[in-house]
């Protein structure tokens, strides 16, 4: 039975009072202040803290940099258990950079930026561009499966991670994968943990395959020329054409915005990396293909454009969507229709591979919900998805954050039940209420 007091005493006895404290407003998750916060020093301590929490019937919320704590279903107050935030803040080391083998081993609480800076010392990088890299930690980035424009060339986290250590609720520390890129021994737990929102175990360590830092990087940006509808179409065609030819862009990004009152915005960015000669040739080829579009100056920090969706004071919902590349045009059209009929403003930043982020703004909560549900229905009908990342709590409590898991939900429940039989980790916050 839930015994927060015993857990508190056990934790303080083991970790010392300076690493166990009561939760406060800054620790709130969806407005909910957890009982306590623990900061273990290493993986073994994380596992031990988890075990204490599980035995005491507490619910555990893993936390790295705290940049995405409100992603997922809200933590529902059930009056029975206490909550414990288990922080990986002190697990912040880059354990090893085997640059000759192009791999790196890093603790889950290390920030992305710190990892990249370390890897840059030998001219290498983790070929990923997550949100809020100065603050976001490896563990949190993995748990939320965050990725950016680079994935068109390098894949997402599932293609970059080669090993993982997980702390399970019963105190087990389990390794899977290894330090070599090519490895098919055993099941691919690193993939299972990626995007699992900490519901199967707490990631304490990850091993990644690396890539060289490119010698040159060049970006082109285009806007639709006069005549919005046809201009938009030619931009869409450009995006598809770039993917169909045999160039190797490391970013193909679409930025668009609209409202019922203002003209729409529709811009495309393309990035190439490599040798000077290689970049030059591809730039030229792209310009040759882009005759239906208007070349514009590349906006500052354009490859981090999606983070701007989180700024703004109006009531808004921010979501991540996925779709087939050829459905992008249709999605934009639908978005315009829905936002006009509901009186909403919208802004999106999407990657041509078929994933993007959308911000919907409007003071009418019901309109927001209706629009999101319409969009999700259409996306899911064509094999895509829509996941709400941030919205007013009122909206979150009336909507399913994740969307449909399809007929695989019972199987996902079985997996969860095996890894976390007591429902300790982030209970209720994942897809299907897992």
């Amino acid at each position: 039975m839930a015994d927060a007091e015993t857990a508190w005493n056990d934790l303080r006895a083991f970790f010392g009072a300076e690493h166990v404290r009561a939760g406060n407003e800054e620790d709130a998750v969806d407005g909910f202040i957890p009982h306590m916060v623990v900061e273990p020093a290493n993986a073994e301590e994380i596992a031990h803290a988890l075990k204490i929490a599980t035995d005491a019937g507490l619910r555990v919320i893993p936390r790295g940099g705290g940049t995405k704590m409100n992603w997922g279903n809200p933590l529902r107050h059930n009056g029975r258990s206490g909550e414990l935030i288990l922080s990986t803040r002190r697990l912040n080391r880059v354990i090893e950079h085997a640059w000759g083998d192009m791999t790196a081993t890093v603790e889950a609480g290390c920030t992305f930026q710190r990892l990249q800076q370390t890897l840059a010392e030998h001219g290498q990088r983790l070929a990923l561009d997550p949100l809020w890299s100065e603050q976001a930690t490896i563990g949190g980035i993995l748990a939320t499966n965050d990725s950016g424009p680079l994935r068109i060339r390098f894949g997402s986290l599932r293609d970059l991670i080669i090993g993982i250590t997980l702390a399970l609720p019963d105190g087990t520390l389990a390794k899977s994968g290894g330090k070599v890129v090519k490895n098919v021994a055993g099941y691919d737990l690193p993939k299972l943990a990626t995007g699992s929102l900490g519901t199967l175990g707490i990631i304490t360590r990850a091993i990644f395959r690396l890539h060289p830092i490119p010698r040159e990087t060049r970006t082109l940006s285009f806007a639709s020329s006069a005549g919005l509808v046809s201009g938009s179409e030619s931009l869409q065609n450009l995006v598809l054409a770039i993917q169909d030819c045999n160039m190797v862009p490391t970013g193909v990004q679409i930025r668009a915005a609209g409202s019922s009152t203002e003209n729409d915005l529709h811009e495309v960015d393309v990035r190439f990396e490599g040798t000077n000669a290689g970049c030059d040739a591809q730039i030229e080829q792209t310009l040759g293909m882009a005759s239906g579009a208007r070349r514009i100056e590349v906006p500052a920090d354009v490859w981090n454009a999606r983070s701007t969706l989180w700024s703004g004071v109006e009531q808004s919902a921010i979501c991540k969507f996925s779709l087939l590349p050829t459905d992008a045009g249709g999605f934009l059209t639908l978005l315009k229709q829905i936002s006009q009929s509901q009186g909403l403003r919208w802004r999106l930043v999407a990657q041509a591979v078929g994933v993007g982020h959308l911000r919907l703004e409007g003071s009418d909560n019901a309109a927001l919900i209706s629009a999101l549900e319409d969009l999700r229905k259409r996306l899911e009908a064509r094999g895509g998805s829509l996941v709400i990342l941030r919205c007013p709590l009122e909206t979150k409590s009336k909507m399913d954050v994740w969307g449909s898991a399809g007929d695989a939900l019972p199987l996902m429940n079985s997996v969860k039940a095996r890894f976390d039989p007591t429902g300790t980790l982030n209970p209720g916050r994942f897809i299907g209420g897992i």
């Binding site: 083998d101 993917q243 996925s322 997996v415």
Partner: protein, 481 residues
Amino acid sequence: MEARILDQFRAIVGRGLITETSQLHTYECDGLTNFRVLPQAVLLPTSTAEVQAIVQICHREKIPFVARGSGTGLSGGALPVDKGIVISLARMNRILEVDLPNARVVAEPGVINADVTLRVAPHGYFYAPDPSSQSVCSIGGNVAENSGGAHCLKYGFTTTHVLALEVVLPDGSIVDLGSRAIDRPGYDLPGIFVGSEGTLGIATKVVLRIVKKPAVIQTLLAAFNTTEEAGGAVSGIIGAGMLPAAIEMMDNLAIQAAEASVHAGYPNCGGLLLVELDGPAAEVAHLIEEVSAICTQCGAWEIRVAQSEAERAVVWKGRKAAFAAMGRISPNYIVQDGVIPRTALPRVLSEMERMSAAAGLRVANVFHAGDGNLHPLVLYDGRIAGQEERAIELSIDILRLCVQCGGSITGEHGVGEEKKMMMGEMFAEPDLATMQLVRCAFDPEQLSNPGKVFPRTRLCAERTGPYQPHPLEVAGVAQFF
């Protein structure tokens, strides 16, 4: 097997039921011929519905089953299980859908790997995972083993190119894992299914990602006096920040065999490097010069760049035929599939030389130098008493060495039956127990390819938790293998 069960099977697959012993022998092993088990029956379904019906019977009657593609696997993954049946997917060999604008192909599991590329090649696309057996191996088998191939350094493995799967679970239910769009929310079930070696169910449809063919492919051969020098060139290439599409290495023994077999015209040298670069023309032209320069600096005494598609094919012919070519220089061989960090290559090669001399057996080496995947071919003569045992022991010692260097016991062939006892060298008990939680979630009754991959099957009702060693283990009297 009881007649009434066979009748039920016959009602599903009709003439696709094999029970005649002489015909069953065809299915008693896969590419690993040392292990043979006669199945009770072999079934060849032609549709998902038939696969489901078969598995439902197996579930009801507690009959273990082993799915089989083309049977080319090298670790005994398709080895039948005692008292079980084999479900061959060979007849489910249609490409169902080709969606070029979205670069996706939907294939049944029995489709031959190379046929996917064949189908999309006219449009300038290819299916990237290219195991050397690609002209015969199946997509379903590739999924089970997470097959790689020479080009996975740059292009990744099967799991990189599988977006979704229709799976018949061991309880007979059908589920759709993943989606055609990327990043389906929820657990990455395709990710855990690919590479699970048939232990989690049977894939009946696979959504594959295809890739645009690069503008230009350039293949270079470099001859060195020793494999150490060749290894130095590899380090140089990586150190210069390049990522070739493939880097392969062969030692002299492997070259001799390949020459005797396919006459690729390789230079007779101590260490041969095969480097392939692909991408935009300007990029490749620049990089191939750099690679040549690095090879020369590291001691290459001959460098050839393939001048045409035909020449490129010949260059690869030797490498891809390497295993089969061993038959020219030895009556028998055991091939292993260890992986090591690239930087450990010199140490491992010299250690292997010492070990092979001590065992009195020759070892030929073919090596995916780019990603550290070693294929030592331990050559022996099975007719000479004791040689087979020594060969097996040597191949296991080589794997042990790989693990000691921070590597893996298998880079692409899978654990299967052959290497399950070595899983304990790579993973501790808690690691194996945790992996088996997945097994229990998908297949609590242990019907799907049971006994493979894990050395000690965990009963699904067993308690999880940190491993509690037996008092005898603690006392050092007994040991778990």
